[in-house]
Each structure stands twice: as C-alpha cells, then as structure tokens.
Symmetry: C2
Subunit: 197 residues, 2 copies
C-alpha cells in the first residue's frame, strides 16, 4: 500500500500484480529471483529491474519530487523515520497484526504480547516525534516518511494497539489522509489466509 499511495500521489501509472504469500507464492524460485528475501512488495521497473523493500521503493520513486527533500540534512530526517518504521513499527505492529488476523495470536501468545508492547513503545516515540505541532513527521513538508509510517500505524488497532491513544498521532493521521490524491486502499486479508496459516 505504501508504494501504491506514492505512485498515485506522484501520478505515475502502475500495474498491480498480486503475489499471494498465503499460497507461498513469495517463496518460489521465481519470486526469490525478484527478491532474495522472498517477500513483497517488489517494484518492477520498465527496464525489468526489481526493487524490493518498501522503504527503498519509496526513496526510488520520490527522488527529485516534493516527497523527498533535496537538502542532505532534511533527507537524513526522512531516512531516520523510514528506518524507524522498518525497525520499530513494522517489526512489532505489522507482525502482531499478521498473527491476529491469521488467528494465531492465541497459539503464539507470549510473542504477540511482546510485539504489542513493543508497538506501543514505538507509537510513543512517534508521538514524541510529532510533538510541537509539527504537521508532518519531518516538519512542514509531507514526505515518503509519512507514507511509510501511516501504513501500519493507521491500522494498529487491528494488532491490538490503538494509535490514536497516543496524543499527537490522531491529528497527524487525519492530515496524511487529507493530502492531495491520498487513497487508503488497504486490502483485507483474503479468506484463505486463516486456512493457509
């Protein structure tokens, strides 16, 4: 969804191909050739080159646009929050949400509880980063860091952690959703996700 939000806001035409992780299509030799880590998303360029990792895709797409500042220090701020998202938000809230939505939260209760606790810590950090009424996470400008953070923060309640409990986050989510061309097209988990898990 992060890549699609950026592609639409940058008005870049794209085609969406589904690689069904619940059918283990992400673990085939064909997909491993696209991404040795065997996961989605992967951006395929017109040249055939493949770019895995949502953060790398966002930085590639945003290069030279308003979604990524040209100044070295301002770009470092965007990088800071992109790495924070992958290290603290995705690794906790996205994994917990996956366990909940595939019906495995009970079986892996200690792990899920630990992930949700870490997720709340990460949301507190994000709330501190958004303090002082800064409209977006890197300041006045909306960047790909906001897109990356939005993805798993806006649906954190599905993992068992309500992001809007954390002070500044609710108003920021609203501001992100109000940016021109923003569209949240989060897909529901497919019906066979439970069976395949």
């Amino acid at each position: 969804m992060k890549a699609r939000i950026a592609l639409r806001q940058l008005e870049l035409p794209y085609e969406r191909m589904t690689v069904d992780l619940f059918a283990r299509e992400t673990r085939t030799p064909e997909h491993m050739a696209r991404n040795p880590d065997g996961r989605v998303p992967v951006l395929e360029l017109d040249s055939g080159a493949m770019i895995p990792e949502s953060g790398a895709i966002l930085l590639y797409l945003a290069e030279g646009t308003a979604l990524l500042p040209g100044d070295r220090l301002e770009r470092a701020r965007v990088h800071q929050w992109l790495f924070f998202e992958q290290n603290q938000i995705e690794s906790s809230l996205a994994v917990a949400r996956f366990l909940v939505l595939t019906g495995r939260a009970e079986k892996y209760r200690d792990v899920t509880q630990s992930l949700v606790a870490r997720g709340h810590g990460a949301l507190s950090s994000l709330a501190r980063g958004l303090a002082d009424d800064r409209p977006f996470i890197c300041g006045d400008a909306y960047t790909v860091a906001d897109i990356a953070l939005y993805a798993y923060v806006h649906c954190a309640h599905e993992a068992g952690a309500d992001a809007r409990e954390h002070g500044t986050i609710g108003a920021w989510l609203d501001r992100v959703e109000a940016t021109p061309g923003f569209e949240n097209d989060l897909a529901p988990f497919p019906p066979h996700a439970m069976a395949a898990s």
Copy 2:
C-alpha cells in the same frame, strides 16, 4: 559500531560519547531531545544537528563518497539492504543477542526462540543475496550496506545463530574485514548489564 566503521574508513574525525542504555541514560529527557525514540546511536554534527538511526547516519556520512553509488538504481540496491538489515536482521538477531547477553533468554524463551528462527531465515536471505560470487552485497563495490549488515551478522553466534553456516556469508564477512581501514571495535556488554536488566 556501524557509524564508527564508516567514520574511520572515510577518515572523518569523530568523538565518541557513551550513553549507557543499561543505566537508562537513553530514556532521559536530554536524550529524548536528541532522538525521540530514546535509543542509540545518534550522530551529532558540528552544527549541533542530531541524526538518529544507524541507517540514516550511514547514508548521511556516505553521501558523495565511494561508500554510496551516485546512480539512482544502484543507490536503491544499497537502500534495499539497509532496510532489510533493520527489518529482518536487527529486529531478530540483535534483539535475541541482547536477551542472551543480559541473561534473559530463559525467562523469555518463546520470544528468544522465535527471534533466532527469524534470524536464521534472514541469514538465508542474505546468503541468497550474496550468491553468484558477488563480492559485496550490492555487487563489485563495497558500500554502507555491507557495513550495516556486518554488524549483527558477524556476531550472530552470540545470539545462538552461526552466520557462517549459511554458505556465502563466511567469505563475505572475510572480504568486509579486509577492506582498507576496516576495524571491528565491538564493545563487550558492560559488567552492570546483567544487574540492570
């Protein structure tokens, strides 16, 4: 250590300040002002500006140097592996290593086992990325992606996962250590780490 490796290889003078996480110095208001996520490392520039997140620090330092390619697609490869490191390596092996070295692996056994299993999966992905005899993770050139990956991969055995079991990784670790000016100055956990945990 990632930042220090890059600083030395780029021959940039630096001063190392210790913020002791075991004494909770990373959670003070003073440190939160440096990094709202309350963690280390943070790079303080001569201007006083603060850059948290090891990946953001590496990209900032490497800008315009041989450690970061100028080409947009080649840079996307570096970003790909930097994000992979934060999302798959650090979040599994570094956390497991922390639990082991602070004597908490037994108390949090399910969590630790789950982290080590995820770590082995990540090492398999890295080994696939290093296949086809490519000397470094992004190809012929040694980049900050190698520095980032080296840090928690070379000491994965301390987390209970030997990285050198994974085919191509051993020779790559040796190549990284043989780059000009490379110095592994990993600090041991301080004696009070066990007591404070």
